[in-house]
């Protein structure tokens, strides 16, 4: 995955959320699948519902909103998270 690639929530479908404490479930109206997300994963996906961002921009947004340590391991974690969201059809590459 190129770090410059930009991502956003898959166009044309809604995500429906419910959050309890620090966990969320999200229903994807396209696939009909429901996913369980922790607070970081939920934050990333909610951010990509509103904005089109690359991994650096996602990490930047996260670090502004929390006290997470955004080191190399965290970059790898977010990169894997983006890959997983992409495989699940929750997000897609920005084609512009």
């Amino acid at each position: 995955m190129l770090t410059s690639e930009k991502w956003h929530a898959t166009a044309g479908f809604k995500l429906l959320w419910h959050t309890w404490d620090d966990e969320s479930v999200v229903y994807h109206t396209g696939s009909g699948d429901t996913h369980l997300l922790d607070s970081v994963a939920a934050f990333v996906l909610k951010t990509l519902e509103k904005k089109t961002l690359n991994i650096f921009e996602i990490i930047e947004t996260l670090s502004q909103d929390s006290d997470l340590v955004t080191d190399e391991n965290f970059h790898e974690f977010i990169s894997q998270l983006i890959s997983k969201f992409n495989r699940l059809g929750l997000i897609e590459r920005h084609s512009g």
């Binding site: 429906l16 419910h18 959050t19 309890w20 404490d21 966990e23 969320s24 479930v25 229903y27 109206t29 009909g32 429901t34 369980l36």
Partner: protein, 308 residues
């Protein structure tokens, strides 16, 4: 008319002939069978259930009959037919009644999308219901049987049925399916209750069915408010504990253990969301049935009950 109004011989003749139209909760099942063990067990365990006044309509048309040809003599088998279609392989004839119970569950679980149906037991007291989802072998049916013999009303021991129109739980009081050690445990725990014959060496081990209480059957039209979702686990010699459980994880478990969550799509998500949001969710460990029932009797009830 109740099944108990028929003699066993009359009932067996009727079941073998045009069949019966059995009411179980919101469903009517047209059942035909020439197998004596099926007639005997239905007559015993469904004695308080009613037959439908009308024979014009049934939700499911079920037939259980012995395999023909050489199978009449060599390792006899039972065949299940649903609307004339045979979805399952035959089983040994000695397992005919358990097959009836399993296949009736299958009919309901797979053909009733006006409800969200979860694999779980459900019991009720004072209008409030506890849903007990759990994998096999965790003591779910034993606990459900114990509670139903000590003042809780049986809604169902296998299928928790949530009505989508008002998010209430529907009763489906049918015999409780007990396995292996649970059979003798419950025979001793509730000696006045009737049990069907034990079927040995089924896919689930030894299986016997416990008759539901008359109260559970009579109140088959009385819905209940889902209030608690409790994951029971029997652990020998373990102290009793009731601990809050993650609602989001309970949601996912509920979705994965529903028969029709995916088929219902967005409606299924909204129903599960409402259910989880309105219920207290717990993990429950127990080793003593009396203690477990005492704990259930102390479950926190919604405020409106306290106001009554």
């Amino acid at each position: 008319m109740k099944i108990s109004a028929f003699s066993q011989a009359e009932f067996a003749k009727r079941l073998k002939g045009n069949g019966i139209y059995l009411r179980t909760g919101p469903f009517i099942s047209h059942i035909r069978s020439s197998i004596p063990a099926v007639a005997r067990n239905i007559h015993l365990l469904y004695a308080e259930h009613s037959l439908s006044d009308s024979e014009d309509f049934a939700d499911f048309h079920i037939e259980l009959f012995p395999a023909k040809g050489l199978r009449r003599w060599y390792r006899p088998q039972v065949i299940f037919s649903f609307d004339g279609y045979k979805p399952f392989k035959p089983l040994p004839l000695a397992q005919a009644f358990p097959m009836f119970e399993w296949t009736l569950n299958w009919c309901i679980a797979n053909h009733s999308n006006q409800y969200l149906i979860m694999h779980a037991a459900a019991i009720e007291k004072n209008g409030f219901a506890a849903i007990l989802p759990a994998p096999p072998g965790t003591g779910k049916s034993t606990l459900c049987a114990g509670l139903s013999s000590r003042g809780w009303r049986l809604l169902s021991d296998e299928l928790a049925i949530l009505r989508l129109s008002d998010m209430k739980l529907m009763p489906l009081a049918r015999p409780i399916n007990l396995k292996n050690d649970s059979i003798n445990i419950m025979r001793q725990y509730t000696p006045d209750t009737l049990f069907g014959q034990v079927s040995r060496d089924t896919a689930k081990g030894d299986v016997a069915h416990m008759k539901p209480s008359t109260d559970s059957v009579i109140r088959s039209d009385e819905v209940a408010i889902p209030t608690w979702i409790i994951f029971p686990k029997y652990v020998a010699n373990e102290s009793i504990s009731l601990l809050p459980r993650s609602k989001a994880q309970t949601f996912i478990y509920g979705a994965e253990n529903s028969f029709n969550y995916s088929a219902l799509g967005l409606e299924g998500f909204k129903a599960m969301e409402h259910l989880i949001d309105s219920c207290h969710c717990y993990d429950f460990t127990y080793s003593d049935l009396d203690q477990a029932i005492e704990q259930f009797n102390k479950l926190p009830v919604p405020e409106k009950v306290n106001e009554q």
